[in-house]
């Protein structure tokens, strides 16, 4: 199997590569990883991972800098049904648009948009809610059974760092959520494509479990 981590100048490519490599080795999987923006290589891959840190408009611009990249991604994911994982801003790009800095359209694969986290009131210790939502949080798993959640419980915690959250009326896309001031979708997707708002590559053993589940997930 060939896994591509899409290279469009996002800062955390190495971390994502390291975490996936570790999971592949631990699980004895036969899978090669390449970090690239080469359209031909991407078209010939089996699995696609889109990382993303920084602002939504910057990530979108980074993708647009490689001519034809977004079209190739949509073709491979929506039409050819390749297994896809979007991470953080990579997940956010799967939706209609974000209001970060300015209204920027995403790929429109899933329905919803991103607004700033409403940090009002105080937390259980009387502290003001801070934005970004930064740190380790647990998942609410009551929605559906999904292979990505194998062996993952509400005791597992994941590393989040983001200021914008998904607003959607399409509840069938929701696989897990988290709570920070209000409910925040954490794992979303349908069919062959999934997105995670948190960083599995930075979520220690809980992150490794999720990455392994995604790698082993049979469509």
């Amino acid at each position: 199997m060939k896994l591509i981590i899409i290279d469009y100048g996002s800062g955390n490519l190495r971390s994502v590569e390291n975490a996936f490599l570790n999971s592949i080795t631990d699980n004895n999987l036969k899978c090669n990883i390449e970090v690239t923006n080469n359209l031909h290589t991407i078209s010939n891959a089996d699995y696609l991972v889109l990382p993303g840190v920084g602002s939504y408009p910057d990530c979108k611009k980074g993708l647009q800098n490689t001519k034809g990249l977004i079209d190739v991604l949509s073709e491979q994911v929506i039409h050819k049904k390749k297994k896809f994982l979007g991470i953080c801003v990579g997940m956010q790009l799967m939706f209609d648009y974000s209001l970060e800095k300015m209204r920027t359209p995403g790929f429109g694969w899933l329905s919803g948009n991103f607004s700033k986290i409403k940090a009002v009131g105080k937390d259980y210790l009387g502290r003001n809610y801070k934005v970004p939502h930064m740190g380790w949080n647990s998942l609410n798993l009551k929605y559906i059974c999904h292979p990505i959640l194998e062996n993952i419980s509400e005791k597992d915690q994941y590393y989040f760092v983001h200021s914008y959250y998904l607003k959607t009326s399409e509840t069938s896309q929701l696989i897990a959520s988290t709570n920070y001031c209000h409910q925040i979708p954490a794992i979303v997707g349908q069919e062959n494509y999934l997105g995670v708002q948190f960083h599995p590559e930075k979520s220690s053993l809980s992150g490794q479990k999720l990455i392994s589940n995604w790698l082993k997930w049979k469509l």
Binding site: G11, A119, D123, G135, W136, N137, E201
Partner: protein
Amino acid sequence: MLSTRVIACLDVHGGRTVKGINFVDLKDAGDPVEQANLYSKTGADEICFLDISATYEKRKTMLDVISKTAKTCFVPLTVGGGVNNLDNFCELLNCGADKVSVNSSAVYNPKIIRESSDKFGNQCVVLAIDAIENKAMPSGYEVTTHGGRKNTNLDVLNWAIQGVRNGAGEILLTSMNADGMKTGYNLQLTKLISENVSVPVIASGGAGNPKDMVDVVLKSGASAVLAASIFHFGIHSIFSVKKEMFKNGIQVRGCEN
């Protein structure tokens, strides 16, 4: 519910970990890569590397330390010390750092916060503030640089607010009076900044035992606690700190019952 983070800090000089009392009289506490891995395995929520090397050549060794650490250590890594421009940011992030902290360079070139947060996102920019008590300042605290050796005539509260306005996504607040003393965090300083900025504040400087961590969270509203020496020399483990926090009603990672 969001867990309160416990961050292990490693002061690195020429590729080796050190920790001094009030930043002088350094003691060797080992290999940073090995230590970072041990910390992440024993429950550290983040690792913070602070490069205190004085020369460019020695700082180069830091890139190697980060690359090696990022290969096996899957928790967020923050790196600071000697970060003067966007190229420095780029190098560190490419090696596997998740966040970069700026301290002296932000004082001498305040534009670096705006430029780096525009380019890499505010989640990636940590404003590190070394505060000393100074009654002549409006907030009672003055920003210092160079490990507390140079005064800046900047008020800590104003500086923190301005830093957040310019795009810092987090504040790493060190009390230089408390640093290395093991007598507890500066609760008044931490509370002042936590209550007046919209981003998370990491309390640093002065941790002597797990109860100090509990106090700075409950009494000062810190989003995260950072310590170096009490972890290095095995005085207290990260687990014992988390257990104490959990016992006191603070949500932490990896301590359920």
